[in-house]
């Protein structure tokens, strides 16, 4: 099976039913995607598959094969942070940071679909991501900040 992650192709053998999160973390050493629940309930494991946010903990490898997968490690380009990463820093949108990769990937999926989401839309789209530290207000602020920065970026 071929797995295409962050623009790189990996050849994988074995059980096609094993979950993508485990493959990323244990086999490809891409540990930015986190385990939080293993049942699609917390969003810590979120990656983009063909641009859409997906819970990698409940995604079998076979479903992800041969599709473009982006993980948190693949978001920055040439050492430049993605606007969402920068916005999370600027807005201080995390405490322990364990939910952060998943939050950023979910937000990336949202912003790809909707360039300028209002707060209720962010709240709906991110409902499946848990921040146990309760940093929700700042995460919403960060997503809005990133949306604004990306808009400026495309107009520049």
């Amino acid at each position: 099976m071929d797995l295409e992650v962050n623009g790189r192709t990996y050849k994988l053998e074995g059980d096609p039913e094993r979950n993508l999160l485990g493959v990323l973390r244990d086999e490809l050493d891409l540990t930015g995607s986190k385990y939080g629940c293993g049942e699609g309930q917390c969003g810590a494991c979120t990656v983009l598959i063909a641009g859409a946010p997906v819970r990698s903990c409940i995604t079998p490898l076979r479903v992800a094969a041969a599709k473009a997968i982006t993980t948190i490690e693949g978001l920055a380009s040439n050492g430049n942070l993605h606007p969402l990463q920068q916005a999370f820093l600027d807005a201080d949108a995390f405490q322990c940071g364990y939910c952060t990769p998943g939050m950023i990937m979910s937000a990336a999926g949202l912003l790809a679909k909707s360039a300028n989401p209002a707060t209720p839309q962010i709240t709906r789209a991110m409902h499946g991501n848990v921040c146990r530290c309760g940093t929700y207000p700042k995460i919403i602020a960060a997503v809005r900040l990133a949306a604004a920065a990306m808009k400026r970026g495309t107009h520049a």
């Binding site: 049942e39 917390c42 999370f88 991501n129 921040c131």
Partner: protein, 686 residues
């Protein structure tokens, strides 16, 4: 006051012996080292040096390296505190950078490594800001003075004419030197004592390792990989206190490379591939003997079996119940264990690295010097990671396998085999005079704990008591400890008393308070909220509550909306005023306050563990609801900066006023007093 929550009662070793000075340079390399001696009792307690040593004669001195400047100029500070999301790494770095007149980026804060950092009891009780920050500041100040002296000597100048600016020593006529140039070829050790330090400047500095977190590169414990490492899983008993009666593990043979490790009741497996382990574990057939145990349905009757005797006429009495809840740190317990030449190293996310080292040494009957615990910055704790269960399990597996082993608890394991915030029953009886002054106050807390049990109100006659009960579940500390339960009961009851006396709840509190700091937070919250200025919309209600704990004062005003059809409760708006002395970092303080408030929503409105006969029935995220984006009320936070007062910690206290202000708002909305946490209206449709 010592708190009855047992996980907070650990003391440190009786003595800390001064190591050979050459040892510091062996470990750290050449340069200069600052040792901090801690003669005074408060500081010693913080560092775990017991006051009751050697028959109570004198205090031992804790000698350990608190700072090192290498020949390469790298500045390292050492603290046994850990970073679990409360921002201590940045706050402490900021503190020493201010004293050393050096940029934050040039400082490395080594935290929670039992081989490198001074002994520390643990990161809890909001103690990092009030005690660790001043200690490190003291070290930084003496290092600064010392660097100036070294430069003065080298330049034959008067050190009073020198200063440090932006990490370089600046001399007369434009001479400058880096720290490395000054410490090169020196192997010097200096001891400093406690002394006065400056107050924090109160700037918002971004998280020092924030970039690693937003790029996914920060290695949390579950992300650590060692060469040749195997993965582990544990076979869990069918219920708490179950005994293994029979086991057949022959089915594991079909999984190549998977090994069974058995030691009494402990059964685990290790193997090269994490993803085959759940199936290998399922191939083990085990039988367990269990005993009937109290369940969540009859919990409150179990905790306080006999109702209190009848009260005197004119007494207002009520009983409050508090459910068990789980911490649910997003990073579950995890550990990577490695043995080399009889010495054990464990990476694990814990709030008590030295405590876990002791647990490991005891479990394996080896000296503590043979154990090293390293705590990577961790995916939170909230008081729930004081223990080393997972570290011990990983170490046992690694010992059997002869290779490093990583063990990451599943969410279900974390829900079941960690410990819980205590449940409790609280009985209150009170009497109020015609003038709205409380005359009598009787408060009995069964099991949940003594934190925040004292009333902040001036009352002539009071009887306040904590009653220990044998808890049916394993329980331990939780953000704010029992202060949440005690404030919930007290502040709910305060509203009932105010109504009986026909006095506005805010005015009633003012009338019974003398403490100006409490008055100030109440006033600030009420003003921002517009208390008394408007009436709530239909099915909406307003509530207020205040509290004091661990050096911090908090008042919250809440607005709730109750859906008349489903009876579901939604928090619409929460105004929190918080004061904890001088503010260190306003941005992060707001984050801590808001985080505590958001976490409090869960315990107030929907979190509760269900259990029966030693089994947790709702131990997964799909069955146990935690606050999410859609639960978020409009949050307004007012920070009162008391520059004249010492800074207290802020991770815990802001949680305590949320539940009672919400409960008071629910009563205001629908006229029903909910006295059980979580608060759910009768007939609620889920």
């Amino acid at each position: 006051m010592l708190e009855p929550e047992r996980y907070e009662l650990f003391s440190g070793p009786a003595y800390q012996f001064t190591p050979d000075r050459r040892d510091f340079f062996k470990i750290l390399g050449g340069g200069i080292v600052v040792l901090l001696m801690l003669p005074d009792q408060a500081a010693s307690q913080e560092s775990g040096v017991s006051a009751r040593t050697g028959g109570g004669t004198g205090l031992p001195k804790a000698a350990a390296a608190w700072m090192h400047i290498g020949e390469d100029g790298i500045v390292k500070f050492f603290t046994g505190k850990v970073e679990v999301g409360q921002n201590s790494r940045t706050a402490l770095t900021q503190a020493v950078a201010e004293e050393l007149h050096t940029p934050v980026e040039s400082i490395e804060m080594v935290m929670g490594d039992t081989d490198l950092t001074p002994f520390d009891m643990g990161t809890f009780g909001s103690r990092t800001t009030p005690t660790m920050a001043p200690q490190l500041r003291r070290v930084a100040i003496s290092a600064r003075e010392w660097l100036l002296d070294l430069a003065a000597e080298q330049w034959r100048a008067d050190s009073a004419t020198l200063k440090i600016d932006n990490g370089r020593v600046q001399g007369p006529s434009g001479k400058t030197a880096s720290f490395g140039e000054l410490t090169k070829g020196k192997n010097l050790v200096k001891e400093v004592g406690a002394g006065p330090v400056s107050k924090p400047r109160g700037e918002s500095v971004p998280k020092v390792n924030g970039r690693a977190m937003v790029t996914g590169h920060h290695p949390y414990t579950p992300d650590i990989k060692r060469s040749g490492m195997l993965h582990g899983r544990i076979l869990r008993p069918s219920a708490f206190d179950a005994k293994l009666t029979s086991i057949d593990a022959t089915g594991v043979a079909k999984f190549p490379g998977v090994q069974v490790v058995r030691d009494g009741n402990f059964v685990g497996i290790v193997g090269p591939e994490a993803h085959t382990l759940p199936r290998a574990l399922a191939a083990i057939h085990a039988e367990w003997k269990t005993e009937p145990q109290p369940g969540s349905k009859d919990l409150f009757a179990y905790l306080r079996p006999a109702a209190p005797p009848p009260a005197a006429p004119g007494t207002l009495e009520a009983t409050y119940n508090i459910a068990y809840i789980a911490h649910v740190p997003l990073e579950p317990r995890a550990a990577v264990a490695e043995w080399a030449a009889g010495r054990l190293t464990v990476w694990t996310g814990t709030q008590r690295p030295f405590g876990v080292r002791t647990e490991l040494a005891q479990a394996f009957q080896i000296p503590e010097s043979q154990v090293r615990v390293i705590v990577p910055d961790t995916g939170s704790g909230y008081g729930g990671k004081h223990t080393g269960e997972c570290a011990i399990e990983a170490a046992r597996l690694a010992k059997a396998a002869g290779k490093p082993v990583k063990l990451v608890w599943t969410r279900e394991e974390e829900f079941t085999w960690a410990y819980f915030r205590p449940a409790g029953v609280i009985d209150i009886r009170s009497a109020t005079g015609k003038d709205g002054i409380i005359t009598n106050w009787e408060f009995h807390n069964y099991n949940s704990g003594g934190s925040g049990i004292e009333t902040p109100y001036e009352i002539a006659h009071k009887q306040i008591q904590f009653h220990a009960v044998k808890s049916p579940l394993r329980q331990g500390s939780y953000r704010g400890l029992a202060a949440t339960a005690n404030h919930f009961a007290r502040e709910s009851h305060m509203d009932d008393m105010a109504r009986a006396a026909e006095i506005d709840p805010l005015e009633f509190r003012y009338r019974n308070l003398k403490d100006p700091r409490m008055h100030a937070v109440l006033e600030a919250a009420a003003k921002q909220f517009g208390w008394g200025k408007s009436k709530p919309k239909p099915n909406h209600g307003f509530g207020i509550a205040c509290g004091f704990e661990k050096g911090g004062y908090v008042a919250s005003c809440a607005e709730v909306a109750v859906d008349p059809g489903t009876k579901r409760i939604k928090l619409e708006r929460v105004v929190t005023a918080f004061e904890c002395g001088a503010i260190v970092n306003p941005e992060h303080l707001t984050n801590q306050v808001e985080g505590a408030v958001v976490m409090g929503i869960g315990g107030a409105l929907f979190e509760a563990l269900e259990f029966e006969d030693g089994k947790i029935l709702n131990g997964k995220l799909s069955r146990y609801r935690v606050p999410r984006f859609s639960d978020l009320p409009k949050l307004e936070t007012i920070l009162i900066d008391r520059k004249d007062l010492d800074s207290a910690g802020a991770g815990e206290t802001p949680i305590v006023a949320l539940a009672p202000s919400t409960g008071n708002a629910i009563f205001n909305a629908v006229g029903v007093r909910l006295r059980t946490l979580p608060m759910v209206l009768p007939g609620t449709k889920t």
